[in-house]
Amino acid sequence: MKEVVLVRYGEIALKGLNRAYFEDTLKNNIAKRLRKFKDVTIKKAQSRLEVHFTESAQEEIIESIKNIFGIAYISKALIVDSDIEQISKAALSLYEEGKSFKIETRRGDKNFYLKSPEISAQVGAYVLSNSPCAKVDVINPETVIEVEVRKSTYVYKQSYKCRAGLPTSTGGKAALLLSGGIDSPVAGYMMASRGVELVCVYFHSSPYTPQEAKQKVVDLAKTLNDFAPGVSLYSVPFTKIQESIIERCDIKYLTILMRRYMMIIAEKIARKNNAKALITGESLGQVASQTIESIYSTNEVCKMPVFRPLIGFDKINTINIAKDIGTYDISVLTYEDCCTIFTPKHPQTRPKIDLVLEQEEKLSDIINEYIEQAVKDAEIIKF
C-alpha cells in the first residue's frame, strides 16, 4: 500500500490519436511545477497520472498543482495491487470510525474476477467487520470511499475538483495585452484554459505611473502563471509614444491611437516569441474604446487573429471569474495605469478610419522608431 497523488483529466480523455501528446504535455507541466520537490516522480497510468513521493507532504504537492489546466480531479489515493484483500485493507485505513460510509467501485480492468457491485460489497463487509461502530449508508453517506480497479487499484475518499481545460501550450501561444484592470487577466485565464501559453504585454507610462502599478501587473501575471505555467511578462515603456500623440495629434483620438500602437507593439512581441495570436479583455460597449468602430480600428493594425473571449460578457460575469481566480483583489488596487493617466474629456468613441489615419500621419516621421525602441527596451519578467 502506497500513498500517491492521483491526477485525473477530463477533456484530454476524449482525445483520439493525439491523446499521448496532451498527456505528455500535462505531465511535463506538472513536473515543472513540482521541480521544487526532489523526491517526486510522475507516472502515466491508463488515463491517470500518479505522482509518487517519499518525503514530501501530499497536501503541499496538491496545493502546487491543483490550478494547472488540464487536471479535472486530484485525489489523495492509496495504490495497492488489484487484490481484494489489499483493497479492503486500504479502504479500512481510510475509513473514519463512527461515520456512515459507502464504497463506490469502478472496474477499469474488466478481467478482474469480481464485478463492481461485488467489489463494493466485499470491501464494505470488510470495513464493517473490522470497525465496531461502522454503518453503511448508500443514500446519504458521510464518507464515500472510491475504488478504481485497474492494473493496480486506487483507493481514495477525498477528491478535489480542479479547473479541467487543456494543458498549457497544447493550444499554442498568444500575447495577452495585460492592463491592471479586471478584464484582461480574465481574458488571459479563459484562453489559457484552452491550452494557450501566455506572453503578457504590459504598457507602462513611467514616471507618470507609479512603480506600484507595475507591481500590480506582475502580481496578475504571477496569478495567471499558477494556472498556465510558463507565463512571461513584457513591461513596455510607452510614455514617449503617449507624449508624442498628445503633442502632435487631436486629443480626441488619443485613446484610439494609443490602442492601435499597443496592438502593433504587442504583435511584434508576439512574433518575437513565436506566438500566433493576440488576446484582449475587450467587452463590447463597456467603455468608449470598446465600440465596434473602435475595435474595428484597433483590429485593423494587426495581421494576427485577436481573441476577445469577453466580448459578449456582462461585467458581472467577468468580475465573478476574476474573484474565482484571485485576480479581482489585485485588479481593484487603485494605481493609475497607462490608460488612465491621460484621458481626453471627449474621446472619439466611433472613430472613422480615414480620420484616424490622418492623425497617425502626424507621427509618421517618428513613430516607427519609437515603436521599435519600445519593443527593444521592454523588460522581460519570467515566472
Binding site: 507609479p210 503633442e247 484621458t343
Partner: protein, 388 residues
Amino acid sequence: MIYFDNAATTQPLTEVIGAIDDALKNHYANSSSLHKTGKQSKELLDDARNYFSSHYNLKDGNVIFTSCATESNNTVLYSLLKNYIKKNKKYNLVTLKIEHPSVYNTIKYYYEDSGVEIRYIKTDKNGNIDVENYKSLIDENTLFVSLSCVNNEIGTKNDIALLSKIAKQINPKLIFHSDFVQAAGKFALDMDKTDIDAISVSGHKFHAPKGIGVLLCKKNFKIAPLLHGGGQENELRAGTENIAYIIGIKKALELSEPYIADPSDIIKMRQYLISNIQNNLSDVILNSPQDISKASPYIINMAVLGCKGEVMQRMLDEADIAVSTSSACSAKKRVSRVLIDAGMDKSVAESSIRMSISRFNTISECDKVTDEIIKNANRLRKVGHYNK
C-alpha cells in the same frame, strides 16, 4: 544622489556612528546592573540625560528616552487620558489640523469619541496660526494645547514661546506640549524660561539613527507610562535603555550646536533655492512662509503648477534627486492632508513637492535640482492638461 528629503530622515553622522559603534563594543552592559561595567553604562546614561536637560534648560523635570517621537507624543496624549481626565467634567484640547499624524491621529484615536472636545486652530494657507482665533479657543476647560514648533510638511515655524505664554495667561493650569521634531538640532529652546511643559524629539531628524527619541517634560506634567516592566527611566518608560543610541543622539545634538547658533548658511541656501526656481520658472507657488522668521529654513514646500507632485517626484528620482510629495509618514495618500487642511486648493496641493535640506547640501546641488525641476516642468506642462 542629491538628498533633499531631510525632513523625512537624515543621514547619520560618521561621528555619531563612531560613538554608537564604540558604545556597542565597550558599553553594552545593562545600566540597571550593579557591576562596574553596568555602573559605567549608568553614568553614560545620566550624562546624556543631563546634557538634554541642560541643552533645553529643563531645570526640574524628566528627560525620558523613548524609541521615537511617535512614542513620545503617544505618551503625552495617553498621560492626559490616564492622569488628568476625570469623569463628568468638560474638557477641550486645542491643536492644529496640520499636525504630524503622530499627534493628529493619536488625538483622534484617544479623544474623538470620548466627550473631550477637540478644537482646531485656524491657519492661513502657509500654515501660520491665526492668533486671535487661537486665543478664542482657549478657555478654563482647556486641558491641553499641542502645537508643533515646525510643521513637517510646510515648514511653518510657530513661536511656541509666545503661544505657550498666551495659552497660560488665559488658563494657567493647561498643559502645553510641542512636537519639536523638526526643530530639534536646528533651533534653541529654553524650557525654563517658557511656558512649554513638554516637547517630543526624534534623533533621526538630526543625523542620529532611527529608533531613538526623547520626551522632555517639566515635573508638573504627570506622565503615565505606555510601557510597564522593569521601571526604567524613572518608572516612566520600561525597557532596557538603548545606551548606544542614547549616546548617539546626544552626540548628534552636540554636533548640531554650531548650526543652531548660526543658521545663516542654511537660510542662504533656502533663499537661493527658492529664488533660483521662482526666477527661472513661471507659476511656482511657495507654500512655505516667505518670511524666514515664520519658516524653518530647512523645509521648502512649493507647488509647480500644472505638474503633479508625485510625477515630479518620480522624475526627480530618475535623476537621482530625492524629494517628497508630503510627509513620508503619509506618502501613500495621494494628496497631502496637511496642505488640504491648511486650505490650499486641491490642484495646488496635488502639484506640491517638499524639499528639505540639511547642512550637508550645497548650492551646486540647488542648481542641479532647479535645472531638473525646470526641465521636468516643461515636459509635464506640455501634456499636463490631459494628465488627470
